[in-house]
Structures are given as structure tokens and as C-alpha cells.
Amino acid sequence: MTSTQKSAESAAKGAAGERQRAMGLLAKASRAELQAAWDTIGDKPAAQPVRGPETGLVMVRGRIGGGGAPFNLGEATVTRASIRLEDGTVGHGQSLGTDPVKARLAATFDALFQQPARKADVETLLDAIAARIADEDAEKARQTAATRVDFFTMVRGED
């Protein structure tokens, strides 16, 4: 394999990693966050539905003992949508729950993320979502930390 091939491959991997992060954050966004970001876009691109929005189930798996063989824990509702922009870019949105509007908005932002001209705007949205989640997680972690048990030893007797 030549070094150009290698770097092309790692670039593709990097792009996939970026998109993976973007889709994960879009899944964790609230509908209000996505709607507000959509409303601020001036020249809204036309998006044709390719699939959905449709609600279905994903079987959530666990592992025996936490790290052993997989088993089926139970299902979760998932709503997904795919859209196509005028230039043919396809975007996918999917997240837990039953919100079709959110799935469609997530799919649209996923498509916009793949467009060099729009990518920066989507990055701004993604950073805001990531920051909001980090704040919430940190607050929860601090609240949990306040319930951590500090053991102390009772010293009895004179010596």
C-alpha cells in the first residue's frame, strides 16, 4: 500500500469519525435545540425525504456479568429519517424516542455537515450541544459526589 493510499484511508476514517461524532450529538440534541438552529439558517436548503420519519425498535443488548457474552436486555423506541439535499447529499437522523420532527431535523443537519460550505455552521451547533451535555453531566457528577461516603475511623481507648 502506498503512503498516499494510506493517508487517503486515514482521511476517510477521520471523516467517518467526525460524522460519527456529529450524528451522536444530533441524537442527543433536544428537538428545541435543532429547531432553533434550523430557524436561524437564512437560505434553507430543500430537503427531500428518502425514508421515514419512522418509529421502530432497537433491541438493546447487555453483556453477561457486564463484560461477557451479549444478551438481549429489552427494546427501545427509535425514530429515524433520511433526507436528500438538492445536490444529492444524503443525511440520516436517528435517535431514541418517538419524535419524527427531531429525526428529520437531525437528518438534515447530518447532510449539511457533509457539505463543506455548511459544515462550520453545523459545527457551531454541535459544539453547543456538546457543551450543554457536558454541563449537565458535570452537574450530575458533582451532585453524586456530594453523596460520596467519607469513612472515618473511631479511635477508642487511651493509647
Partner: protein, 366 residues
Amino acid sequence: MYVAVKGGEAAISNAHRLLADRRRGDRSLPAIGIEQIVAQLGLAVDRVMAEASLYDRALAALAVRQARGDMIEAIFILRAYRTTLPRFGYSKPVETGVMLVERRVSATYKDLPGGQLLGPTFDYTHRLLDPSLLGDEPVDTALERDEPGEPVMRVSDILAGEGLVEDDGNLPEGHVAGDLTREPLEFPMARDLRLQALARGDEGFLLALGYSTQRGYARTHPFVGEVRIGEVEVELDMPELGFSVSLGRIQVTECQMVNQFKGSAKNPPQFTRGYGLVFGQSERKAMAMSLVDRALRAEEFGEDIVAPAQDEEFVISHSDNVQATGFVEHLKLPHYVDFQAELDLVRRMRREYEERADAVMRDAAE
């Protein structure tokens, strides 16, 4: 001859209207909202999700409201709903080791990496009715403390470091995780399928069985290695993209039960384990599940099967409360024809009995 009987349409329709009226109750009181149920009756919602085997807080809350708070009815409604949806796929196994922990306690180690984190627990409350909750008094916000950023290490990994505990639970290479929503139950079953059944099993039933093992009906000598509650990521492989994506997070409760030893000529003695994993915050259920999981491994460990909690077919066949309520409650539906036949039979037997008695009387008189 079979005579079909019709009727009751008006009565049924009126009964449902009456049900809706009673469900709403006193109209001078505000109606309870789905968001309020999710926020303020969260553990009821979690139980419905766990036993319906469907993670969706809003739909579970709707089911609780629709069922007037009858948990099994709510579970039934949510189960029925899930059958209307297509299956998109199977998630990657959730990673409970990197859970965003909001509670973690261990009964086996006092000081352990991550510490004892009590979280929002009923433990150590006095179980006294709180009159302040009669009204709507303001509630203090939770206290905060700097979080040391120390990973919350799994207790099973601590024990495994010394080689004193069995591994997490592997199945033979090439084993495909069974799915009881797709295949009929067959006994004996592998541990993965049992765990799926237990995860959706009735909390009360599993609690009673777990309790029975503690009282000596299949003693397993359990310790809570740890219980942890928190959020885990649900990831789904996207074949069209060539990578997996996160769909969001769910809350789960995990219990690692550490049980007494097993060893053999080949293997040195080591602790055995029972495992519990449940949707939502449901510590009692996760603990009961892990007790029953361990008890059901009796055959694997060559233990005598002497108690109900060790009997796989008994436990798994009766753990599903939707099936159980369906079969028990069907008894109240019309059995007029069946019963008529029984009535005829008992009348004939009675007649024969009386004839025999009369004959004995006549013989005695002669």
C-alpha cells in the same frame, strides 16, 4: 348443537366510558400530565419500562396514566404497543463499566476506586410519612461537591485482579444471543436467554424467589459486589455508513452479586457470580434478578436442584406478568358453556349417588 350468543355491546361501550370517567376522577382537580408522571413518579415509569421490556419514558408514563396506576395493566399496554413497531436492529452491547454513575455502592469493599456513592436513595430514610409532601413546599436543590474524576472501577475487576472470581460469563464461541421475542421458549435454555426473561420478569415474583434463596431454598451465600445506577450509551451499527452511531443514552441499574465458592480438581476455589441488569432505576429488581440468575446456574455448578428458584422451567415460565395476568384473568371471561357441562356432570353424579344411597337404605330396611 352450538348456539352463539351475542350481546353486551352497549354494556361494554358504557363500561369503557365509565372507566374513562373514573380515570379522570374529580373534575375540580387538575389532570395529571405525562411530564409530571415522568418527573415525579419516575420509579413507577421505570418499572413499567423494565417489565414491558420497552425503554420509552413518555410512553410508559402514558401507559401508567391510562391504566390508572395499575402497573401490570400499564406493562400490558406498553407490551401491546411494541408489537406494532418494526424492529430496526440490535444495539451493540451497552458498556456498564463506563456508565455515567449516579449511584454505586459495594457491600464487599469499604474503600474502592470511585468510592461509595449513595446517589438518590431511599436507604437510611426512616420510612416515616412526610407531611410536608401533603402540600407543595419548596424543595432544596441538591448539594454539589467537586468530583475527583476517579474512574468508578468495577468490583468484579478488583476481584478478578486476584483471580478470586469467575469471569464475566462467556458462552461457547459462535453462540448467537437468543431472543425470546423471536423464538418460542425451549428448555433448557442458555444463560443469555434466561437473563432476557429475568430482565423483563415481574419484580414481585423475582423478589420472592430471591428472598427464598436467602431463607435456605437454594442457598447461594450472596454479597452485593456492587450495585450501580446510571446512564449508558446505546449504539447501533449502520451498515450503510460502515460505522456505528449513538442513538442517545438510557438509564440502567446493574447488580453484580458475588456468591460462594466453586472449585474443582482442575480449578482452584473462586467466587461465583449472579448478574442483574434492568432498565431505569430499579435496584430491588436488579438485586433479585442477580440472586435468581445465580440460583438458576445450579446445574452448571453441579449443585443439587432442590428449590423452586433453581428450577429453570418453573422460574422462566412464570416470571412474565403479562402472560400470568392473561391466564389468571381470563377466568373471569364467559365460561357459560364449559360450566353448563360441568353442572350437568355434577347433577348426574349426584343423582347416581342418591340412587345408590336409596338402594343401600332399601337393602338395610329389608
